[in-house]
Symmetry: C2
Subunit: 275 residues, 2 copies
Amino acid sequence: MAEFDRDIGLTETAEHTYAADLGPGWVVGGGVNGGYLLATLGHAVRRSAGHPDPLTISAYYLSASRPGPATITTRAVREGRSVSTWAADLAQDGQGRITALATYGDLDLLPDDVGTTASEPDLPPLEECWGMELAPPEFRASAPPLLSRFDLRVDPRTAGWATGRPGGRALIQAWFRLNNGREPDALALLLAVDAMPPTTFELGRPGWAPTLELTVHVRARPAPGWLRLRHETRNLAGGMFEEDCEAWDSAGRLVAQSRQLARQPRETQETQETR
Amino acid sequence: MAEFDRDIGLTETAEHTYAADLGPGWVVGGGVNGGYLLATLGHAVRRSAGHPDPLTISAYYLSASRPGPATITTRAVREGRSVSTWAADLAQDGQGRITALATYGDLDLLPDDVGTTASEPDLPPLEECWGMELAPPEFRASAPPLLSRFDLRVDPRTAGWATGRPGGRALIQAWFRLNNGREPDALALLLAVDAMPPTTFELGRPGWAPTLELTVHVRARPAPGWLRLRHETRNLAGGMFEEDCEAWDSAGRLVAQSRQLARQPRETQETQETR
């Protein structure tokens, strides 16, 4: 079993109630990665709902999660023939970590029209992008566990943050693939869209950027193979910033679009270095 | 009292329970406008929460609303010092219409940094844009009541839909101002981002496009005066499309960003005309 499937694993303890065990491998910044939490929560809704796939899911992050036991409860808001809407909550020791709403359906039953005008990420070939094995030793030594859960090959033009020379544009692009050859599905997309460092890294602010809200639209079932991710911010203002992530599959299809609202990291590269 | 304030008016009938009366003036397509519903729901959360402004709100649309009485219930999910997260539901005759999550705060307490790289909508001057008074009589005769609730001056380059010659690009831009000189605030922004016709109108599909989910980030308190709106779709696929709307205030600030997932209208201009 791939570590992703192991770590989003659930035990049903009562109707619409699931026990999860948040894996220590998904820690980043001040807590457990928000995309992994969303995939775990999304797994619980898949188990409860009569439909397998999140078409849209919106998560509000309440407090930082830590590795260990968590309880997920789900509640049907409206059950329909082709789609159903659910509420779900993830808590640890009785304290709310995430609350979410989601509409589930079956991606295989959507019509097959594609009229997108979005353009694929302008990514160099996989072999020209930077994986962890190329990162400077000092970066690897301090890298969070999360970055070992998948193979992330970052476009060198957007990876200045990894070598202490942030590029100045709030854009990070990368190839993405889960460990163990685990192919992408709708739940893996919930992780993928939150797997990259905050775009603020490229602005010279390497601090943690806590998510307030993250909404993901899953628009098609991803083909096997590498995903390409494009993660960008346009509006950094008022102490917050939005991050839009697109996930494109190996067949050249835009399979997920996400947007999150996060708090800006307080620290800049300079204040961190002079500490 | 401006009609917007009258129509989002609430009577508290029990703790965290409010009676609303959805105005017939907000009808469009198959029901009551989703932005007006969100503003009314957002008003209820403002009344319940210790914070005045939606920083982010995510609504899931369950069934079409109709004019008349509605009940809104709110529930605190997490109350904090600077922000609080709430759940809210709007129902009619016991049937759920919208369920939502929101994080509220006070826009006046946000830091005043502005590092946006987003560019203002490329809109012609107000006097060169098209208001309802310039619309062809046949358009005005069949226009939904919603379009009389505000002054919408559409960029002629994105208004082909109004004259039966859709431009072919999923973009609609306009100046926007509420009736009665009612100045914009955070609740008005919840309406504004859903006030324009679906972008699919410009693709020759004039049908109704029901919203599945709408998330709005309110990023700053808008200055008095006209708003400029930019409403665009990039990914029309699988029977659905996303609509991103930006609202810019008269001071040139990006005050709200929204994204919704909607179902594509089935009907094209041609099928409608040959019916």
